[in-house]
């Protein structure tokens, strides 16, 4: 029942890893996120070295996002122009992130920075999503039409280099998507995430993209970005474990398809409410890890730090 991972240099129960892939894949298909923000902490918790966990999760994200992205593409719900523009910033961010990853590890501050970043990102995004989805749901319940056209961000419209994104029915500056892509690329390399949980809300609330193209577009840009980051991690940190990746991917792709089906039965704001709850739960768990007194204040690392 156990299988040896050649790069992580340890053995794991392969059924557990496929199960992890399945569960996280289900959520990613359902919400249109990569699921890395769940997978990386779960892998670390099961004893996989954090460097291998971060780099290998990316393959799982690629795979479950490919099936999700293709499903969305068939529904004609992908804005390729937007995905391409974001990817431009994303590649630069990834290169910076992979370098920062190696630097933080030498300093011994890797875990702290990763946890802090997770808590801040998940906490703020989860809270925004929770509030918004609850407001919309309450509006539905009381029989009112939800105020679908929210306040415009005036400053975004003052930025130069405007571009037409036909699929999203937007005419905005390329700066916000490029900066968003850069930011997500850097975080992805450090945290082992595709960044869907940042991209999806940012597309909805910041770029004001229509909800129906948000999922597909974010998935396409996640596929491209995680593929690039995987190659970068493999060449600079040698930390991608192909056997572990295969196990996670097998579970992930099946779970993602099931998730897409389950997600189609729910309304947008219901999905966002559920995602908000998942995000906030992970956030609280990580926050507890930061502030709870540790069982042992000393920690040990073997090998070249």
């Amino acid at each position: 029942m156990e299988i040896y991972l050649p790069v992580a240099e340890m053995s794991v129960y392969w059924l557990v890893m496929i199960g992890l892939g399945l569960g996280v894949g289900f959520l990613s298909g359902m919400f249109g996120v990569g699921g890395g923000f769940l997978m990386t902490p779960l892998l670390v918790f099961s004893g996989i070295p954090s460097t291998v966990a971060v780099a290998t999760t990316l393959s799982h994200v690629t795979a479950s996002s490919v099936s999700g992205a293709l499903a969305q593409w068939r529904k004609n719900a992908v804005d390729f122009t937007m995905a391409g523009v974001m990817l431009g910033g994303g590649v630069v961010g990834t290169v910076l992130g992979v370098w920062l990853f190696a630097h933080l590890r030498r300093q011994g501050q890797m875990d702290l920075i990763v946890s802090l970043t997770y808590v801040i990102m998940l906490g703020s995004i989860g809270t925004i999503m929770l509030r918004e989805s609850l407001t919309t749901l309450t509006a539905y319940r009381s029989g009112q039409a939800p105020s679908s056209r929210p306040v415009n961000h005036v400053w975004i419209h003052r930025l130069p280099w405007k571009m037409r994104f036909r699929q999203s029915r937007l005419y905005i500056s390329v700066i916000p998507p490029v900066v968003l892509g850069f930011f997500v690329g850097a975080l992805g390399a450090i945290m082992g995430i595709g960044g869907g949980f940042i991209i999806v809300p940012a597309m909805i609330y910041l770029l004001r993209m229509p909800t129906n193209v948000v999922m597909g577009t974010s998935l396409v840009q996640i596929v491209a970005l995680t593929a690039i980051t995987t190659v970068l991690q493999a060449t600079s940190n040698y930390s991608v474990d192909i056997v572990l990746a295969l196990l996670l991917v097998i579970g992930g792709v099946v779970g993602a398809q099931m998730g897409v089906r389950a997600g189609a039965k729910l309304r947008g704001e219901q999905l966002r409410l559920l995602l908000a709850i998942v995000v906030l739960t992970v956030c609280l768990g990580l926050l507890w890890g930061l502030i709870a007194p540790p069982g042992d204040v000393y920690s040990l690392t073997l090998g070249v730090a």
Binding site: S11, T62, A63, L70, R74, L112, P293, S299, L300, G303
Partner: protein, 248 residues
């Protein structure tokens, strides 16, 4: 197995040089191959005492040392309500795996001076270099505590079985998560707190077969390896999407 050990030991006794009390030893295998279902294994270390003197005052210690590594110990302190790594200490040249099987508890084998010189007992291991800006002792204690918890350092007094007056053996478990490389199996014969004879045999732990090839690929051709990972992920993602397209 037992007969094999006895024959081997007998031959060693017959070919030994004619002097004082001496020791010969061997191990059941000198290569451990890590395959896809490797979860740890046992090795048997056996030995014989040549020209034995009184059993009184005699002790045997078997030490297995893994490849040396750098230990980095960090201490967390509370800063603004968050636990942050602050001070650290580095110990270089420490074994990545350490196992001691002995006839007596460590402290009864020999005085600390002897134990330190030969590196017998986890507490007596001396790092080649210490990097620390402050008292390294609590860090060193913490390192040993962690290594023992993780099963990487272990002391097992009273685990050496005597098959006869002079023939002994011990079974040493090698856990699944150990560093690859050259290990040394050292057998010490002690009398009245002094080492009278010692023998060291190398033991290699390495990956083999497909694991070996994948590991080599990851390190020698990382670009191809990374691209294979991405291709595999995309292919499986696409296959599942095709399979699931037809309404179930």
């Amino acid at each position: 197995m037992k007969r094999l050990v006895l024959t081997a030991a007998l031959m060693m006794v017959l070919t030994g040089a004619a002097r004082g009390e001496d020791l010969v030893s061997g191990i059941s295998q000198d290569i451990i191959e890590i395959t896809s279902n490797y979860t740890g294994t046992d090795i048997v270390v056996f030995g014989a005492i040549e020209r034995p003197r009184a059993a009184q005052g005699r002790a045997i210690a078997v030490v297995v040392r893994g490849p040396s590594t750098l230990l980095t110990v960090r201490r967390r302190d509370r800063v603004a309500g968050v636990w942050v790594n602050r001070d650290s200490a580095k110990f270089d040249g420490m074994p990545s795996y350490y196992y001691l099987a002995s006839t007596e508890p460590v402290d009864r084998l020999a005085p600390p001076r002897v134990l330190t010189r030969h590196g017998i007992g986890a507490e007596y291991l001396q790092p080649a270099a210490v990097g620390s800006h402050h008292d390294a002792r609590p860090f060193r204690e913490a390192a040993l505590r962690h290594l023992k918890q993780d099963g990487l350092y272990k002391e097992a007094p009273g685990t050496i079985d005597f098959l006869s007056e002079t023939l002994f053996r011990t079974r040493i478990p090698v856990p699944g998560e150990v560093a690859r490389g050259q290990y040394n199996v050292e057998v010490y014969l002690l009398r009245d707190g002094e080492v009278v004879s010692a023998q060291s045999t190398p033991l290699f732990i390495d990956q083999t077969g497909i694991e070996r090839r994948l590991f080599n690929l990851a390190h020698n051709a990382p670009l191809a390896y990374g691209l294979i990972c991405v291709f595999m992920a995309m292919l499986l993602g696409w296959i599942s999407s095709v399979l699931f397209r037809r309404p179930a």
